[in-house]
Symmetry: C2
Subunit: 226 residues, 2 copies
């Protein structure tokens, strides 16, 4: 599904250059359930943003489903994201003037589904994360963990083939985190949905099929579990 | 230091009322190191906002240093917060157009310290959390865990007598989280700084002096550790 060869990512900051990724080589197949972990600032979010075609490498080779990403136009990338990828952002990115339900419906309305179907699928995803009673709340009227769960629902509502989850349980208590993990495991087992996580959460790390360790913009360790 | 008796907090949401706190009775003394934990949506942030005089109870008695909070004017509350309380917010609240350093200096500039002294104290706090190389970055040029650490530095820079920390390690890897905990423990031991946390983080919960469990807006369990 995903192939990266010696991918780098630099950010310019005034006079200096920040080398956020310093040569990433990795393959991730359809149906994997893999977590990237490592110190704060090591490049995990940057890596996930490249996979989600939200950002572009500075150098190196990156292909998604055998198509090289740098060859795609902005429209093609945007289309790819909307149809195939569900993204759970580390800083949420909910739209403040929309309710929880409206935020979750948005990706489906971009796909021109009917309001009725968008509504039904969004309500289903919000129930799955325990938010049935909060669908009319706008983000500022929700707790941190409730906002995080709205983001999770939004990422799943399009039935994506790839879910990219950046710290999806950082604001959740253990019971809720475990329920979310079960939900994602089921999708992975039943629908073959590919999951790529970034997480510091030991409760999740212990349950991954594959762990990729990142330090200072490079992958330094890989572990496979049965 | 803090006394609450049968404190409630209601939010109005259109036609309905959300009973976020349903009768909280608790005492917290100077020098304590206490964590509030419980399910997402159980009222922890609401509770911390009351303690920090950011919000007011709907009913019940609440005093801070023997002074009843409902009797204070907005200016008196604002003064209390700026001089005595350091607040680490669950959703960060950094000012986007200011650098990390400027964000940390802000509470000291409100206190009319000289720029030189504000700068020196802020650099010290940023070093303590490992951010010396990032002081010129604005928040959008920082990782999630780096933003969280800027918030921690900002809360400590005024040398407050009370630190209120809402999920202060949610975005931090284990090594960094442990360093932050050590830093706070030292302040608690050496300066008698009072710490009140809300956290889901098992790495922290295992190291608290006192654990307060909240469910559905009430305290249902207390544990003291030696
Ligand atoms: N301004 C508001 N208006 C209406 N309801 C609110 C408002 N703020 C919070 N709530 C509700 O009050 C309840 C308690 O929220 P609070 O933020 O205190 O929870 P929490 O324990 O901090 O949760 P988390 O662990 O997810 O951060 C939640 O159910 C939330 O939806
Ligand atoms: N737009 C930007 N401009 C400059 N530097 C940036 C930018 N975005 C990120 N960085 C830097 O790149 C490095 C990697 O950031 P990234 O967000 O990928 O880290 P991370 O592993 O996700 O960290 P965390 O665990 O704290 O979320 C960090 O040192 C960060 O300061
Ligand atoms: Mg990150
Ligand atoms: Mg909260």
């Amino acid at each position: 599904l995903i192939q990266m060869k010696k991918v780098t990512k630099d950010y310019r900051l005034g006079e200096t250059i920040v080398h956020a990724l310093r040569g990433i080589t990795i393959e991730i197949d359809v149906g994997e359930f893999v977590a990237v972990w490592g110190p704060s600032g090591s490049g995990k979010t940057t890596f996930l943003n490249l996979i989600g075609a939200i950002d572009e490498p500075t150098s190196g080779y990156f292909s998604f489903n055998e198509r090289e990403i740098s060859g795609l136009s902005d429209d093609e990338k945007s289309d790819l994201r909307n149809k195939s990828i569900g993204f759970i952002f580390q800083n949420f990115n909910l739209i403040p003037v929309l309710t929880a339900l409206e935020n979750v419906m948005l990706p489906l309305q971009i796909q021109s589904l009917s309001n009725a179907e968008a509504n039904q699928r969004s309500m289903y995803r919000l129930e799955q994360v325990g938010l049935s009673d909060f669908v009319k709340h706008r983000p500022d009227k929700l707790s941190g963990g409730q906002r995080q769960r709205v983001c999770i629902s939004r990422a799943l509502v399009t039935n994506p083939s790839l879910v990219i989850a950046d710290e999806p349980t950082a604001n959740l208590d253990s019971d809720t985190a475990m329920k979310i993990l079960e939900l994602m495991r089921d999708l992975n087992n039943n629908e073959k949905t590919t999951f790529i996580f970034s997480t510091h959460d030991q409760r999740l790390l212990g349950k991954m099929n594959r762990l990729v360790r990142m330090v200072d913009g490079v992958i330094i360790n890989e572990e496979d579990h049965v």
